[in-house]
């Protein structure tokens, strides 16, 4: 399959039509999504209508935009006007939002084709996409394995070649971990770079929308389209930054890379080996690689699993059976509220809501929630210290390659451990990216993670390109 860059260039030049590309994508979905189950909703008619509009623009001599005719898979927690948006939950089954998320509008304005809505762990809570109320997504590289999560549907859609681009959301690693397990590129931008307007809220101080792509430059292309100030999101940053697609300086000559054992130790030996090989490749490309300890990262997981559930317990209070979504009738409003939530939420969502409610409740607030917030400060200060001596950090994305379906569903703590390397960037609000680098002993993709300071997306992509240039060819691709 060609890259998004090639597709858009060909469509803008009139060499290919958006309709032909979209029909190809829909045919690929029809042929194989029965077994992968990346999509919850395929937007066949809408996508073709969008494609025809793009082609009409080209025919009239207008430029449809930098993503002209490129199919994009949208995680199902991004609001799409008039199109079902379930968040992988029964409580939102059949809900059709009355508005588009800002990123959905930006994609359309850039000429992209919304191919469909992708499967996810319910309300983005999970690391395997097994917590979807609509059944799991399977890893396109090996159908008995999970795609990771929570944005497993978007990662699988890109890995299976259904769409060259996808959007996910990353609260504790939900873009980067599935990208690693599916052998694609996934990136979490700086908090505030991408508008969260229309992203169904999970943990508002951590959530950030970001791109999936088959290579680094395509991820940068999509990032440049969605990174824009938005008056509809009060946390949207008012900054102008140069496009990341074509960085002024290419290569990593002299870039200081901190190989971080605290983001590597505890991972499987094959994952550890790939990260060290990536570091060697960067050194060979001229980067100054040094080992740097950031032991504070070790407390990130515990802090995250107090802060994120606390925020979720508050955000998910809105599902009360009154204004949208499921209602289970009962004799009075309170009983209706309880019956609706009990029937509509799955087990993991209930666990997180209860954990968060507990962490915020009288007698526990200081010991758990406020303490976790202090850890967050500690992690931010640790990053600041690290970035006085290095420009970026390098580590693993996920502790292992894709695990088997069913392996961890009954052990929440084992599932949470998947996020140990990705959480620090969420706590600090920093950008980070996972890209494939070879395979594990089982032949499945391994992801390595590059972390950068706030707003340093250009540098992040630059280093990722150098890693990508040295990456061994991944086997077993779909």
């Amino acid at each position: 399959m060609s890259t998004a860059r090639e597709m858009a260039a060909a469509v803008r030049a009139g060499e290919r039509t958006a309709r032909e590309i979209t029909e190809g994508a829909l045919a690929a979905v029809a042929a194989r999504d029965g077994e992968v189950h990346a999509f919850l909703t395929v937007l066949a008619d809408e996508a073709l209508a969008q494609a025809d509009a793009v082609d009409a623009a080209v025919a009239q001599g207008r430029d449809p935009g930098p993503l002209a005719g490129v199919p994009v898979a949208l995680k199902d927690n991004l609001c799409t006007r008039g199109i079902p948006t379930t968040c992988g939950s029964r409580i939102l089954e059949g809900w059709r939002p009355p508005y588009d998320a800002t990123v959905v509008r930006l994609l359309r304005d850039a000429g992209a084709i919304a191919l469909g809505k992708t499967n996810m762990d319910e309300f983005a809570m999970g690391s395997s996409t097994e917590n979807s109320a609509y059944g799991p997504t399977r890893n396109p590289h090996c159908l008995g394995r999970v795609p990771g999560g929570s944005s497993g549907g978007s990662a699988a859609a890109v890995a299976a070649g259904f769409a060259p681009l996808g959007l996910g959301s990353d609260t504790g690693g939900s873009i980067r971990q599935p990208a690693a397990l599916c052998g694609v590129v996934g990136m979490k931008p700086t908090y505030g770079r991408v508008s969260r307007y229309g992203l169904v809220a999970f943990a508002s101080s951590l959530d950030q929308i970001g791109p999936f792509a088959a290579d680094v430059d395509d991820a940068a292309l999509l990032f440049d389209v969605i990174a824009a100030h938005d008056p509809c999101d009060t946390t949207s940053l008012r900054i102008e930054s140069p496009p990341t697609v074509r960085p002024s300086g290419s290569g990593v000559e002299g870039v200081r890379v901190g190989l971080c054992p605290d983001l590597i130790e505890g991972c499987a030996p094959d994952v550890v080996a790939r990260v060290h090989e990536a570091a060697e490749a960067l050194a060979a490309a001229g980067a100054k690689v040094e080992e740097i300890r950031v032991p504070e990262f070790g407390y990130g997981l515990s802090a995250y699993y107090l802060i994120a559930p606390a925020e979720a317990s508050s955000n998910l209070a809105r599902y009360d059976g009154v204004r949208y979504g499921l209602r289970v009738d009962a004799e009075d409003a309170g009983a209706m509220n309880t019956a609706t939530r009990t029937a509509g939420f799955g087990a993991e969502v209930k666990r997180r809501i209860m954990l968060g409610t507990y962490a915020l409740s009288a007698g526990y607030y200081d010991a758990y929630y406020a303490q976790a917030q202090r850890v967050r400060t500690m992690v931010v200060q640790a990053f600041e210290r690290a970035y006085t001596s290095v420009d970026v950090l390098l580590g693993a994305t996920a502790p292992t390659t894709a695990f088997k379906l069913g392996d961890k569903v009954d052990d929440p703590m084992a599932m949470y451990m998947n996020d140990v390397c990705t959480i620090p960037s969420n706590l600090a609000g920093h950008p980070a990216l996972s890209l494939p680098f070879g395979t594990g002993d089982d032949g499945l993709p391994v992801g390595v993670q590059v972390l950068a300071p706030a707003l340093a997306e250009g540098l992040l992509f630059q280093v990722a390109r150098a890693v990508e240039a040295a990456a061994p060819e991944a086997g077993g691709s779909a």
Binding site: P98, T235, R327, M413
Partner: protein
């Protein structure tokens, strides 16, 4: 620092989070749990909280709690009328509607 098991509710589930705590929290969160779910969630949430003991044990009194990764401030716009969501479209998503309003069952115990 006082550990939660020293200050918290007493319960039948041993140290840390008790079954009673889980029932209490589920009630606060407007969730009904079966007896089996109470047992399961008590064990699972206790495991998570035991893992969080490493955080609870740190002396971080010198650090300020951080609620947000970037400075958050009020963002204001001119107070001018603008188009908003279409009322009928919004109400179309509601489980029950009457006279252009959300309809809910009786609230509280008094007669309507």
């Amino acid at each position: 620092m006082s550990r939660p098991e020293e200050t918290g509710h007493s319960g039948s589930g041993g140290p840390g989070l008790s079954r009673d705590d889980v029932v209490h929290v589920a009630n606060l969160a407007r969730l009904t749990l079966s007896e089996g779910e109470v047992d399961l969630f008590t064990a699972q949430l206790r495991t998570v909280l035991e893992h969080a003991a490493d955080v609870a044990a740190l002396d971080l009194s010198h650090l300020a709690p951080m609620a947000h990764p970037i400075p958050v401030e009020n963002v204001l716009r001119p107070d001018e009328p603008r188009p908003s969501l279409d009322r009928s479209e919004v109400l179309a998503a509601a489980p029950s509607v009457e006279d252009h309003r959300f309809r809910v069952p009786r609230i509280g115990t008094e007669s309507p």
